[in-house]
């Protein structure tokens, strides 16, 4: 069995030797280069461009502005609703909005001319930050892709609470955060006879095909999207953002291939972000630690309606995390003159867990109860809001195994009581949870006479290891050595698969590969029975097996090569789709985890350093122990960044982002990261999908930030409710 083993990435060598080609690295003869020009005001109208200087510069092929851009089809009908700014009008809705595209024969010339484009504006009043309009919130029009409602209430919204009830009522905030994947957004677009081909960095080639064909009024099959490798996305490449569309527009204008690579600075206003959240949490508990009521009211920022709408669903996690007779949540939006927010690793859960899991820690402290004991006391056996059983839940095991590995019993519950020399030591924990998602997907397998298989699916490997895990599954199903299995992904001409988001790629695509393998097996068995000679005749296929590149019968074996030779065929093909099981709708499906952080705080200087970490996860069956651990530690580190470093800063008077670069937008560096112990508790979810996987891309990020905030409180006695935790918060 390859599945489960820590098999090395089969694309690892290509990646580290430069053989793996990313979107911007394809070489098309005659490629021109496009560079975006962005606005420097937040609201108003463009009154005119002065292109005299730019047009006179060498190598310029076209300058596409809001004055002369091609009019696109019905924007409202576009599948992903990410259709602003596409240069269709001269309004400005945010600072850093694309207003022109300069195309030249070289990247340098396009860059120089882009800097020479002069723009005149008529500025109008802008809402520069969420806090400037916090009192004017609106209800989301479309929430959580229609899968949930913005508000929820279980039990009495305002229950009568007995005397002696303990209350925690606090506001928690998380800042704007940007994904900052290593690979920038990049697209090469090429038109040929009304057909569009794009090489683009995306988490969803199928979505890109739909979005582009809709905007350019084409049949989906007239658009080919190619993306063999993705240098990280974290949600920012889930949608087809305007730069990809503008690249195609530019290619049509200059009638040659056009490459558009978004600069790091421009990535802060080109492809979404996690919006700022302001979250009010109210908990009430009886003196013995039973939650009596839970309220979680979320405000998050969104863009102006013309740009689109996105709601970070931060309170979804509160609906299912703990049992209480009264659980109420709400989500409201504050419209700001910023670009459209989007999904970012654990969208909703990561920001929401910071609020609810900090509040749970505050309540445990008020109750003088151990934080784990308090959570166990309110353990949800069933989903309290959906009122459905969990498809599987091994959270108790996560708490127990995590606590043991971490040495939680050594924690003195009194804040500021533990020291290491002059440093304060803090231990904190938090619960993690993320939904188990699945969508329809399809895959095909081709087997050739030499016993090698080619697995193909129109999914994409965003760095998580999909190339490898699909090969492992196919090798096991077909009884082939792993080295004989190749995977081909990232091309929209392949059998279609969903976006690589919501931690659902394995859950969706692996069943399709398994189904295709089943189809392949049946064909091979039939061929063996028909061509194997007398001793195979009449054998029931059920008694056959595939192993070591051969069909194994009751008395005899036939290698794949022999079968192909006797049947006189060169190859066999099987294609199959797999769909979520409708029975799964009767369950609430989630992965779980328990995060344990130890921090050391310098009490004089306010410096926080994470010194130890244990994360224990109930994340279903593991396909590849190595790539799974990479996901787990990657998510935890992302959470460390969220807790201590990451914040997109905005100039309050202009709405312009001030730290739009990775020197000033801080993410964790190696020196910030201690050894991380990850534990995968034994659990297989037989209901959510046939494999028993639960998804591991986002789960490990959820709960990491509150675990650190809770540890900082334990170390210092200071409760920081606004992320990131900064030195000045701890300088007392």
């Amino acid at each position: 069995m390859y599945v489960g083993q820590g098999v090395d990435r089969i694309d690892g060598k290509a990646k580290i030797t430069g053989g793996a080609k990313y979107a911007a690295e394809f070489d098309l003869p005659g490629t021109a280069h496009a560079v975006l020009v962005q606005s420097t005001i937040s609201a108003g109208k463009i009154t005119g461009f002065d292109l005299v200087l730019a047009e006179a510069m060498p190598g310029i092929l076209a300058i596409i502005t809001t004055d002369n851009a091609e009019k696109l089809g019905n924007l409202k009908a576009a599948p992903q609703k990410v259709t602003y700014p596409l240069l269709q009008d001269s309004n400005i809705k945010f600072n850093g909005q694309h207003i022109a595209v300069v195309v030249a024969d070289t990247f340098e010339r396009a860059t120089a001319a882009a800097a020479a484009v002069r723009v005149n504006y008529r500025a109008t009043r802008a809402v520069n930050t969420m806090d400037q309009a916090i009192s004017q919130s609106v209800t989301p029009k479309e929430f959580s892709n229609g899968r949930a409602k913005p508000d929820s209430q279980v039990g009495d919204a305002a229950p009568l609470l007995p005397a002696g009830t303990l209350r925690v009522e606090q506001t928690y905030t998380t800042p704007i955060e940007h994904h900052n994947p290593m690979e920038p957004h990049a697209t090469i677009a090429n038109w040929s006879g009304g057909q569009l081909t794009v090489w683009t960095a995306t988490q969803g080639i199928s979505g890109a095909q739909k979005a582009l064909s809709s905007l350019f009024g084409l049949e989906p099959k007239s658009v080919t999207v190619i993306c063999p490798y993705v240098g990280g996305g974290f949600g920012s490449k889930g949608n087809t953002w305007p730069p990809a569309v503008l690249a195609a527009m530019a290619a049509r204008r200059v009638n040659r291939p056009v490459k558009l690579v978004v600069t790091r600075e421009q990535m802060f206003t080109s492809n979404g972000y996690r919006p700022r959240t302001v979250q009010r949490v109210k908990l009430a508990a009886s003196p013995d630690g039973k939650l009596l009521s839970v309220r979680h009211d979320v405000k998050t920022q969104t863009s102006m309606p013309e740009v689109g709408e996105f709601a970070e669903p931060s309170a979804l996690i509160t609906r299912m995390l703990y049992e209480a007779p009264s659980i109420g949540t709400s989500h409201r939006l504050v419209q700001v003159n910023h670009g459209l927010p989007t999904y970012m690793r654990g969208p909703g859960e990561s920001s929401g867990a910071f609020a609810i899991e900090s509040a749970m820690d505050e309540m445990a402290a008020a109750l003088k109860m151990d934080p784990i004991a308090f959570r166990l006391k309110n353990y949800a056996e069933n989903d309290p809001t959906a009122r459905l059983p969990f498809a599987s839940k091994a959270l108790r095991e996560c708490y127990a195994q995590g606590a043991t590995a971490f040495g939680w019993e050594k924690r003195n519950p009194i804040p500021r009581s533990m020291r290491d020399g002059h440093l304060l030591v803090g231990m904190g924990m938090a619960t993690s949870s993320y939904p188990t998602n699945r969508m329809p997907a399809s895959a095909s397998i081709r087997l050739t006479a030499d016993g090698s298989a080619l697995v193909r699916s129109g999914t994409q490997d965003i760095g998580t290891g999909t190339y490898t895990t699909l090969a492992q599954v196919a090798a096991d199903e077909l009884g082939l050595p792993l080295r004989k299995v190749r995977t081909q992904l990232g091309d929209s001409r392949l059998p279609s698969a969903p976006v690589s988001g919501g931690s659902m790629t394995s859950a969706s695509v692996v069943p399709a590969v398994q189904a295709a393998a089943q189809g392949m097996k049946s064909q091979l068995f039939a061929l063996a029975i028909n061509h194997g000679g007398p001793q195979w005749r009449g054998i029931s296929p059920e008694t056959l097996a595939l192993s070591e590149s051969a069909v194994i019968g009751p008395t005899d074996r036939l290698s794949i090569a022999q079968i192909f030779a006797r049947a006189k065929i060169a190859q066999l093909n099987a294609t199959a789709g797999a769909h979520p099981d409708s029975d799964a709708q009767k369950y609430s499906k989630h992965a779980f985890g328990a995060q344990f952080a130890e921090v050391r705080v310098d009490p004089d200087l306010g410096i926080v350093r994470v010194s130890r970490w244990v994360g224990a996860f109930d994340c279903g069956r593991i396909l590849n122990a190595k790539t799974a651990r990479s996901q787990l530690i990657g998510g935890i580190i992302y959470g460390m960044g969220m807790a201590l470093f990451e914040e997109t800063r905005v100039d309050p008077n202009s709405g312009r982002i001030t730290n739009a670069n990775i020197s000033d937008y801080l993410v964790a560096v190696n020196a910030d990261v201690p050894d991380i112990e990850t534990i995968v508790v034994d659990s297989v979810d037989p209901i959510s999908n046939p494999l028993g996987t639960k998804g591991i891309g986002e789960l490990p990020m959820v709960g990491a930030a509150p675990a650190i905030a809770n540890a900082v409180y334990h170390a210092t006695g200071i409760r920081v409710r606004d992320l990131p935790i900064r030195i000045e918060n701890l300088l007392v």
Partner: protein, 325 residues
């Protein structure tokens, strides 16, 4: 980026003459110049590459340590004399940037790197330093990283380098050569200018004048010195606040004390009042704490950077504890 000419003159005299032509800029390691060019913060017509000049020697004679202007940050940090006798300098360098940048970055370039003020580095904002008279949105804006000493209503941009903070504590001088060959020495404190009403004029260098070396006179106080840098993450970040501190203690009494601060000044910032409060005292926590309080005088803060006073005081105390231990 505007197109430009690049030349690498073979001699100092050529370099200074070329450097004196309006629109010319020197480039040493290029680690800052390249960023400024790419971000269209500067648009020189000519770059004068100093690569061919023989200015990278580190010598130590006649009681004078001489760091050639082109000596790299990595080489100076690793030099045995500097590690032994000037620990604050070696540490300041090792806590700067990354190994890659330290292998390229030079003494001269480090002293003259431009501010990291986010508004200065982004053409989308007004900035009195980049575009004189256009205004300063930083003071009323995102000012957390900006200076609290030496500021003016025109500019509060912080000097970002670590090295000159340590150099300032040791009264370093810079050796300069002007077009025509005239040389002079200037105390480092006189190299820099406060922003005042002309924040775009940052130094007292004449057109074409080149830094040829940093000079340090031997001094007893330097051996017991340290550089403490506090930043938001453990590595690869500029100082929020830093301090170079040195003590000369004899018979239980502080005979000489040096305190300079980084991350807080529009230029590397010496704290003479703290030094005076330390001299002649017995080194202990109470003396350190009382002395550190003296920096508050003259600080001008915004709501976002007011914490730097307290942080600077704590850093001074911690550094003094370290060197007196």
């Amino acid at each position: 980026m505007q197109s430009f000419l690049i030349t690498d003159p073979p001699s100092l005299s050529d370099a200074t003459i070329l450097g004196g032509v309006p629109g010319a800029t020197f480039i040493a390691g290029g680690t800052d110049v390249m960023q400024l060019l790419k971000n269209n913060v500067i648009a020189p017509r000519q770059l004068i590459d100093l690569d061919k000049l023989n200015l990278s020697n580190i010598t130590n004679d006649h009681g004078e340590l001489r760091l050639g202007a082109l000596a790299t940050m990595a080489d100076v940090a690793a030099h045995p004399v500097i590690r032994a006798d000037w620990p604050a300098i070696s540490q300041a360098l090792l806590l700067s940037a990354s190994p890659q940048v330290r292998n390229m970055g030079t003494m001269g370039g480090n002293l003259l790197q431009r501010t990291r003020c986010l508004y200065f580095r982004d053409n989308g904002f007004a900035c009195n330093k980049r575009a004189p008279g256009s205004g300063c949105p930083a003071i009323a804006g995102d000012s957390r990283d900006l200076a609290i000493f030496g500021t003016s209503s025109h500019c509060i941009a912080t000097h970002p380098s670590d090295l000159p903070v340590a150099l300032m504590a040791f009264n370093a001088e810079v050796e300069l050569q002007a077009p025509g060959g005239a040389t002079r020495r200037l105390p480092l404190s006189k190299l820099y200018r406060l922003p005042g009403t002309t924040p775009h004029i940052e130094t007292n260098l004449q057109p074409g004048e080149l830094i040829t070396a940093v000079i340090l006179a031997a001094q007893g106080v330097s051996r017991r010195s340290t550089y403490l840098k506090v930043r938001d993450r453990t590595s690869f970040a500029f100082a929020l606040v830093s301090a170079a501190v040195a003590l000369d203690i004899e018979d239980g009494t502080i005979r000489d004390a040096r305190v300079a601060l980084g991350g807080v000044g529009t230029m590397p910032w010496r704290a003479p009042l703290v030094e005076i409060a330390l001299r002649g005292q017995t080194p202990n926590d109470q003396v350190f704490e009382t002395a550190a309080l003296k920096i508050a005088a003259g600080a001008e803060t915004t709501q976002m950077n007011a914490f730097k006073i307290r942080l600077a005081q704590r850093i001074i105390v911690r550094a003094l504890q370290t060197v007196s231990a």
